[in-house]
């Protein structure tokens, strides 16, 4: 009984046993990956101080409590101040660096690139201690500003990477055409390069925002009474078991998912080189 039109792939695990095993393993694996998030969302709507099965009924009580309490909400507000600013700063630095690397040949170009990427590779614990060391010397520790400044160092790397990717797709003729028509370097940057790089900058911003939003350790070391969300959550968890955290978690997850979708929409076309270029 020949049903397939194309020749059978000898690699296809046509042994039923293998296929089934593979699918089962994937199912279990994905279940594991999704479990904590699903738990968080489901139990944010469950009555009962201690999450257990069977549940004790549905409610939005925890969300209400969250808005009443204020500590976590305030931390959320702080994070929503810190992360966008850090992401914006990172995009500015990242764009300047990416453009310079793209266009200019200068001594130490490779080292410059490495220097900007390095923060991602250093364990956050070390960075936290280090940042605190410097900031306390110059009296800048314990504020939201300290978190913004230090996060900028860390999240510039992903932002720069995405922008570099996008700039790599820009045909050199585009800037040359602008110059040829009379634009100065600055005018060409502003009128041609920036519009072209925009999807990359946007994708980089979202990526930087997400990383900053979730960042705990550095923020813990460097912030003071005004805490960012991860820091406040940590204190909460250590202090008490409170399902309000589920509510916070769900909100954070929802925000991150929106961000993720945005990144998806912006980044994947770039990665697949489908976004508008001047060539056919």
């Amino acid at each position: 009984m020949v049903s397939a039109v194309r020749p059978l792939d000898p690699l296809a695990a046509d042994g039923r046993w293998w296929r089934a095993a593979g699918r089962l393993y994937m199912a279990v694996g994905y279940f594991f990956l999704v479990l904590p998030i699903a738990t968080m969302i489901v139990f944010s709507f469950q009555k009962g101080q201690f999450a257990s099965i069977p549940g004790q009924g549905w409610t939005v009580h925890w969300y209400a409590k969250l808005f009443e309490d204020g500590t976590l909400l305030e931390a959320l507000r702080n994070s929503l101040i810190v992360s966008p600013l850090a992401a914006t700063g990172a995009c500015v630095l990242g764009f300047l660096a990416a453009y310079s690397i793209h266009r200019f040949r200068f001594w130490g170009r490779g080292a410059f690139s490495v220097l900007l990427v390095l923060p991602v590779l250093i364990p956050p614990l070390i960075l936290g201690v280090a940042f605190l060391g410097l900031l306390s010397r110059i009296g800048l520790q314990g504020q939201l500003l300290s978190v913004i400044l230090t996060h900028m160092v860390i999240v510039t790397a992903p932002a720069m990477a995405v922008i570099q990717l996008r700039l790599g797709q820009m045909p050199s003729a585009l800037e040359e055409a602008a110059w040829d028509l009379g634009a100065t370097s600055f005018q060409s940057l502003y009128k041609v390069v920036l519009p072209f790089a925009l999807p990359g900058i946007a994708g980089g911003w979202l990526l930087a925002f997400t990383f900053s939003f979730d960042e705990f350790i550095v923020a813990w070391f460097v912030s003071g009474f005004e805490q960012t969300l991860p820091v406040a959550v940590y204190a909460y968890i250590v202090g008490s078991v409170d399902p309000s955290l589920n509510a916070v978690g769900s909100i954070v997850f929802a925000l991150s998912m929106l961000s993720l979708i945005g990144v998806e929409l912006l980044l994947f076309p770039i990665l697949l080189s489908q976004y508008g270029s001047s060539e056919d």
Partner: protein, 313 residues
Amino acid sequence: MVSASARRPLAAGVLEAANSGFSPMKVLGIGIPLVYSLTFFAAPLLFLVVLGFWLVENFQVVPAFSLENYLDIAQHMFAQSNYALAIAQSLWLSLSTAFFAVLLCYPMVLAIVYVAPRSRHRLLLMLAVAPFWSSYVLRLFSWQILLANKGIINSGLAWAGFENLQFNLLYTQIATRIGLIHYLAPILIVVLYVTAANIDRDLIQAARDLGATRWQAFRRVILPMSRTGLLVSASFAAIVSFGDVLAGSLLGGGVGNSVLGSVPLFSTMIMTEYASSTNLPRTSALAMILVLVMVLMLAGGAALAERSKVDAG
């Protein structure tokens, strides 16, 4: 005779005058990120090293050049604070976590690459990466309520009739590992996917054509060619686990129970010591030791990976 294209400098947007000169754009474009990075990244790190040699007097940090911190740490290595044991504990945790993480993620990747249809790969990878986007801290909280003694898993089992099947997981090192593996899984899956996807399918087909069973094809073709990727992933997992603070404290209870007894992890220890003493120079010295161990792990991992590359060919 060198070909024209080899000698021609890359055309990408190069206006030659800008190469040698100091146009304002060049100065700003390179200068601003450079200055920022040096000030807020390089300086703190260098300062960290220096800080390890400073002292605290009367609650003030005082510049000095003293080995007192390191001596103090050495004294406490095997007594009192027992740093050595903490380091051993962290090493044990990180290496075992790395081992299990790779062991569990690898079959997952193989399933994706060889069982799932090609068109679904992108979707599957995206799903695998999704947890990465939610807050790590909050995920750990979820694990807490899942693994607690009267938590979701245990109460669920009881409700389903398995009252006798209860897992005492929270505040053990197993819980820490679960949290860490969940954290590492997305990255490991992506890295291992790239490794596995790059294995030339023709080789496997050839092996099958020559009569190898699937298991043999795996053992003799796929596995050897994955060796480098596996080692790199394992090194990465080990290093990240070693430096992790959250899983250890939230799931392991700060003083995780393990084969070595009830010993805190080195990273947690650094954090708690700082929280209680706010002796920054001493914390810096401890952090330096952490870095040292990590560098050694990195070097070891790189050496193993190099060796495996030569063998695999």
